[in-house]
C-alpha cells in the first residue's frame, strides 16, 4: 500500500520534471536561434540621402573633385577670353558670359569696351559717328 502511494506521488512529479526540462531546453534553443540572427541586416538597408555623396562621380575624392572644378572653371575663362578676343577682332560675337560662375563677365565687358573703342576709332577716321563706343548714337563733332 505504501509502495503504491509512493508511485502515485512520484509519477506526476517525474512527468512534471520532464516537461519542465524540455521547456527550458526549448526556450534555450529558441533564444539561441534568435540571438544568432539578431544583428543580421533585414532586407535592403535604406541609407539617408545625406549619407550618399552629392553630385560628382562615385568614388571621386574631394581633392579630385575640386581639381576638376578648377580645371572646368579655367577652361570656361579661357573660352570666354577667346570669344572676347574674337569679338574685338571682329570675328564674331562669341559667347563668353560663362553661365553660372560669372567668370566670363569681365571678359565680356572687356570685349564690349574693345569693340566700342574700335568702332569709335573707325568713326573718328571717317569723321562720322561718336567717340563713346556706342556706334548707333550720333557722336559730337570734332572741335
Amino acid at each position: 500500500m505504501k509502495r503504491r502511494a509512493a508511485l502515485l506521488l512520484v509519477l506526476p512529479l517525474a512527468g512534471a520534471a520532464r516537461a519542465e526540462d524540455l521547456s527550458s531546453r526549448t526556450r534555450l534553443a529558441l533564444h539561441q536561434a534568435l540571438d544568432l540572427h539578431a544583428t543580421e541586416p533585414v532586407g535592403s538597408p535604406s541609407l539617408p540621402q545625406t549619407l550618399t555623396p552629392q553630385g560628382g562621380v562615385p568614388g571621386m575624392s574631394a581633392a579630385t573633385a575640386a581639381q576638376a572644378t578648377q580645371a572646368a572653371s579655367k577652361a570656361q575663362t579661357e573660352a570666354a577670353n577667346q570669344a572676347a578676343q574674337d569679338v574685338a577682332n571682329g570675328h564674331g560675337h562669341g559667347n563668353g558670359n560663362g553661365n553660372g560662375n560669372g567668370n566670363g563677365n569681365d571678359a565680356n565687358d572687356a570685349s564690349r569696351d574693345a569693340a566700342g573703342q574700335k568702332r569709335g576709332a573707325e568713326a573718328k577716321e571717317t569723321g562720322g559717328k561718336g567717340l563713346s563706343g556706342h556706334p548707333d548714337k550720333p557722336g559730337k563733332p570734332p572741335h
Binding site: 509502495r3 503504491r4 508511485l7 509519477l11 517525474a14 512527468g15 520532464r18 524540455l22 521547456s23 531546453r25 526549448t26 526556450r27 534553443a29 529558441l30 533564444h31 539561441q32 536561434a33 534568435l34 540571438d35 544568432l36 540572427h37 539578431a38 543580421e40 533585414v42 532586407g43 535604406s46 540621402q49
Partner: protein
C-alpha cells in the same frame, strides 16, 4: 493492482510523447537558426495553434526576418495580448526592429512630400 502493472504504467509515462507544441517550437528554433525563416514561421504557427503562447512571439520574430514588418508588428501585438509573460528581452529587440522597419516607408514618403 500488482507491482508489474505499476512498473508498466511508469514505463508508459516515461515513453516519448507524441509531437507537441514544444516539438514544433524546437523545430522552429532549428529552422530559424539555419536561416529558414519560412519553415520557422510555419513551425511556430503550428505551435501557436496547438496552444503555445511562445509560438505567437516567435512567429512574429520570423516575420521580422522575412521582411514583413507590418505583419510582425501586428503579430507582436496579438502575442502580447494573448500572453504578455511569454517573451524576453530578445523578442523585445525584434519587436523594436519590426516597428522601425514598418515606420521607414512612412518616413521616406514624408520626406518626399516635403521636397
Amino acid at each position: 493492482m500488482s507491482v508489474s502493472a505499476w512498473i508498466l504504467t511508469a514505463l508508459l509515462g516515461a515513453a516519448p510523447l507524441p509531437p507537441s507544441a514544444e516539438t514544433h517550437l524546437l523545430s522552429g528554433a532549428e529552422a530559424f537558426r539555419a536561416g529558414n525563416y519560412t519553415v520557422a514561421l510555419v513551425e511556430f504557427r503550428v505551435a501557436e495553434r496547438m496552444g503555445s503562447a511562445e509560438g505567437s512571439w516567435y512567429a512574429a520574430a520570423s516575420l521580422v526576418k522575412l521582411g514583413r514588418a507590418e505583419d510582425a508588428v501586428e503579430g507582436f501585438a496579438l502575442a502580447e495580448r494573448a500572453s504578455a509573460a511569454a517573451h524576453d528581452a530578445l523578442l523585445d529587440y525584434y519587436r523594436a526592429l519590426a516597428c522601425y522597419q514598418a515606420r521607414e516607408p512612412e518616413t521616406s514618403s514624408h520626406r518626399s512630400a516635403q521636397r
